[in-house]
Symmetry: C2
Subunit: 375 residues, 2 copies
Amino acid sequence: MIKKQLFTPGPTEVPPETLAATARPVLHHRKEGFKKLYFSAVSNLGKIFRSSGEIFILATSGTGAMETAVCNFTSSGDKALVVVSGKFGKRWKELLNTFGVEAEVLNYEWGRPADPGDIKEKLEGRKDIKAVFTTLVETSTGTLHPIEKIASVVKESPAALIVDAVSGLGCDVIETDKWEIDVVVSGSQKALMTPPGLGFICVNKKAKELYEKNERKNYYWDLKKASGRHKNNQVPYTPAVNLIAGLEQSVKMINKEGIENVWERHKMFSEATRAAMDKLGIEVFSESPARGLTAIKIPEGKSFIIKELKEKFGIVVAGGQAHLKGKIARLGHMGYADKSDILKLITALGVIVEDFSGLSAALKAANEIFKKYAK
Amino acid sequence: MIKKQLFTPGPTEVPPETLAATARPVLHHRKEGFKKLYFSAVSNLGKIFRSSGEIFILATSGTGAMETAVCNFTSSGDKALVVVSGKFGKRWKELLNTFGVEAEVLNYEWGRPADPGDIKEKLEGRKDIKAVFTTLVETSTGTLHPIEKIASVVKESPAALIVDAVSGLGCDVIETDKWEIDVVVSGSQKALMTPPGLGFICVNKKAKELYEKNERKNYYWDLKKASGRHKNNQVPYTPAVNLIAGLEQSVKMINKEGIENVWERHKMFSEATRAAMDKLGIEVFSESPARGLTAIKIPEGKSFIIKELKEKFGIVVAGGQAHLKGKIARLGHMGYADKSDILKLITALGVIVEDFSGLSAALKAANEIFKKYAK
């Protein structure tokens, strides 16, 4: 017997309560039972997005939610600024290109966070840039971008700020309303502890007119149409009812713990993991590590760690993408995870590299972090 | 206690085995376990589509699968012919308009099937029509279109044939390869006995070059990208893993029964329901009734039937859409349904209208049909 456990940065482990909720009998999507469920899911999501704006739940993946943002907040021929420092920033750029938007790219080395000063400079005196696209957490490198500061510079320009928080929402701090972010997109399968298949788009109250006035014609992604239905706790096309039932369970659990406590818990996981890696002599890859995952450099001659974690201990972590393939491992600790899980991950890694004195120090270091947070 | 049961034409009841499969721990979508599951789901779907072509599974609703077809098989400025005889034919038209395709409409009164002769006439000498869009079953009226005959006339022209079989696949006969249909789209939540959230697109071998050569730029819906991943039992973006686990269970059950037997079972349900309605003095709405649902005219003064079926007996049926609201009821008998379910539905309806002599005759008539099929 090997018990498999996902330590991947999406999809992630899902609580049994949520899996059970997805297995409830199907509700018809035009009846009262579904409307109540939808209202509860949306209300609870609002507390996680920290927004009193509109939140749409779509039957799609995170990429579909990103496409929804591009299609509803830009028109063909528009100009946009896009931060690229990994695979998901690149995805914004590819989407913008696909839909005829001229994308000016601010490139950063993979693993480095965006510099709000660069964005400020790029936007200076520019009235022609319709929107700035960035990610909250670049999952491909485990890097957190300074969204609060980025928001404060974008606010000074006429451009809208559109943030991909597929990775990050529910573990790293994001304050959609307070920071005045116009649009935040996300998905079900990461810190929100729900199986994949749902995409979310949160539109700040002030940003509603941006899609209402936008000229591109959309159908499946059309937020104007969705907005009309939304008021009545409905969606335009058959929703993924059972996934929404699961989501509703998970977001209630998150809000029961309290989103600020959830953020703190992830901060503790992230600090404990990094402290332990340090003692194991393993370098962290990112210059600005996110709370939900830790990307580590695979030590020289230790390319077997990803495979052995899985085969020996059932621990599934992710490798690097694109040019980082074989060079980094990404350890997810987001969503349905507790301190024992962090210890399990550290221990397995220490055992696999057979560094038992390092492991002893690593576990002590992790425990020090736990104690700090317990105070 | 009231046990609710969906007799709606989508979403439909899902077998407990399938609900349980959706509640299994989440698989990571880039690992072997998922690839095996995906391969099994796709192979089993092939036997239901009756096609050896490519089958794509998308995280979306049926409408998203329709949008995928429009986006991959037409370019802006193309011309298309579209059959409209209800809400879903109209949806093709709206999608075509949204994506810049000039749609010539063949309108039929709601409830009437398309006439292949009209399509033949429309296509005669026309080399400029890129595709013909139609539905297998118009769910809004419970009407089956004669797709085999339509395919035989479209075949004589350069136009491709694109069929919405969201309603119909897995209950009404469709022979994608044999009838030479280029593209068939469908969804998880009807006769395929799976919760909503998955869209399918089946591309006949001969039609592959149609999307490969097509010029429109797509991202989330891009079949060129999906096709490359597909060979390796992968999809481009995070798939709805747990829904695919449920689907795999349901399509295996369908193929265990045998798709031809499943078609026969639905034919029996449909005939038995119609025979019973006749004895209850209730008229069938459609001139060409589908096998998976029966649309009935709501008898004069009996507008309470939909509400009472639900409140008294937990039986959820659908009302009419658009101008048929209040005029028809749509009784779904597709997917996870057996003879007892049909008797339950007939009985409840007879009891609600308090026509007990009619009910006696109705049940006898239904049983005669069952006996005919048992031979």
